[in-house]
Structures are given as structure tokens and as C-alpha cells.
């Protein structure tokens, strides 16, 4: 029974990894490719580790596998955020059909500050700030 569940989780995880790989090829710009690699890729590797945790059936194996899954889930958003920010500031082009770029004109020449102060960002509605 455990083998059945582990096998199904393995298949789902491998499918997500495959989908992430296909997305990495097919999607049109860096940010969309990151969407595929970060989310589908993390879920794929995480599900394989969960299958391993079920299959191991020893405390130390399960504990290590669950630790690995938690570590992946904690670090993936941080890495994706840093990478997306660096990509945007380095001027990686957006897809030609992108309709909104909320970060446009929000960084100065040094790429450090946002356009408005934090107080403005909290009090003014976004429509006023976009000017």
C-alpha cells in the first residue's frame, strides 16, 4: 500500500519536473521562465522527497526527507525574489505582449530606491503614484 502511494507521488513529482523543463523552453521571457522553474520545479523535487519519506519507513530517513522538503519550500521564494529583482534591474526584456509593468520608473539610476517614500506608498492609492 505504501509502495502504491509512493509510486503515485513519484509519478506526480516527475511530471511536475518535466512540466517545469518544458516551461523553461517554451515560455517567452525570464520572469515567466522563472515562474515555471521556481514553482513547478520545487513542487516536483518536493514530491519526490515526500515519496522517499514514505518509502523509507525509518525515522531518520523520514526526518531527513521532511527536512529537505521544508528547506526547499523556505528557500525557493527567497531565491526567486532575488533573481527576479536582479533580472529586472539588469534590464532583462519583458515579453512583447506584457500589458502591465508595475515597476516601471520605480527605481532611480542606482537601482536602489523606489520612486516614492514608504509613507506615500501606504497613503496614496496606486493610481496617483503612477502619474
Amino acid at each position: 500500500m505504501i509502495d502504491l502511494v509512493a509510486g503515485v507521488l513519484l509519478l506526480i513529482g516527475a511530471s511536475f519536473s518535466l512540466i517545469a523543463g518544458i516551461g523553461l523552453i517554451r515560455l517567452p521571457d525570464v520572469y515567466l521562465r522563472m515562474h515555471a522553474a521556481t514553482k513547478a520545479g520545487t513542487l516536483g523535487a518536493g514530491l519526490v522527497l515526500v515519496a522517499l519519506a514514505l518509502h523509507g519507513q525509518q525515522l531518520e530517513v523520514t526526518a531527513r526527507a521532511v527536512t529537505g522538503v521544508l528547506f526547499l519550500l523556505f528557500t525557493a521564494p527567497v531565491a526567486a525574489h532575488l533573481l527576479g529583482r536582479a533580472g529586472y534591474l539588469s534590464g532583462a526584456p519583458l515579453w512583447s505582449k506584457t500589458r502591465f509593468d508595475d515597476l516601471m520608473d520605480k527605481y532611480d539610476a542606482d537601482g536602489r530606491k523606489l520612486g516614492g517614500t514608504p509613507e506615500e506608498a501606504l497613503t496614496k492609492p496606486p493610481a496617483d503614484r503612477d502619474a
Partner: protein, 109 residues
């Protein structure tokens, strides 16, 4: 029932190996081709994730659970590599935006 379960697990392992291998090929293609540096860093991040998944499948197939430590270390190294690479992309972009003739003032934040 137990026989069917282990047969199904064996079948899943084969399918999963195949899927990971195809995904690895596609990722390497993106790593080599990627028009921007950020694309290549995304592909490197994905390579680390695929390595973790591969080690997981291998551990299930051979019941050799010592490789799980390798997977955890790979996750750690992959995360740190992605952070360092994105820092590198960011610094390179900043230096390009400033006046190229002006030397770097060495301010770090």
C-alpha cells in the same frame, strides 16, 4: 497486493527517471542558449532542483538512503549559488548603469 505495489513502484521509478532526464536536457538547452544572464541563472537553479529529484528517485530505487544527505547539501548549495549569482547579476547591472568611465567607489550595501 504487495507484489503489485512493488511492481508499480518499479514502473514509476522508470517513468520518473525518463521524465527527469528529458527535463534535464531541456534545462541544459536553456542554460546554453539563454539570451540573458538571468536566464542562465534560472536554468542553474533548475539543475540543482533536478539533481535533488534524481537523487530522491535513485534512493527509492536502490534503498540506499545515505544519498539523502547529498540531496540536502545540494539544496543548500543550490540556494547559495542562486543568491550569489543574482547578486552578481545585480552588481553588474549597477556598474553598467553608472558612468562607465567613473571607477567603482566600492560602496557596499
Amino acid at each position: 497486493m504487495a507484489d503489485f505495489g512493488s511492481d508499480f513502484l518499479q514502473f514509476s521509478v522508470y517513468i520518473a527517471y525518463t521524465a527527469i532526464m528529458i527535463s534535464l536536457g531541456l534545462t541544459v538547452f536553456r542554460l546554453l542558449r539563454g539570451p540573458t544572464l538571468a536566464d542562465r541563472v534560472v536554468a542553474l537553479d533548475m539543475l540543482a532542483l533536478l539533481g535533488i529529484a534524481f537523487i530522491g528517485i535513485f534512493s527509492i530505487a536502490t534503498e540506499e538512503y545515505a544519498f539523502l544527505d547529498v540531496a540536502i547539501a545540494l539544496a543548500l548549495v543550490g540556494f547559495l549559488a542562486t543568491v550569489a549569482f543574482s547578486r552578481y547579476v545585480y552588481r553588474g547591472a549597477l556598474e553598467e548603469r553608472r558612468d562607465p568611465s567613473k571607477p567603482d567607489e566600492g560602496d557596499d550595501s
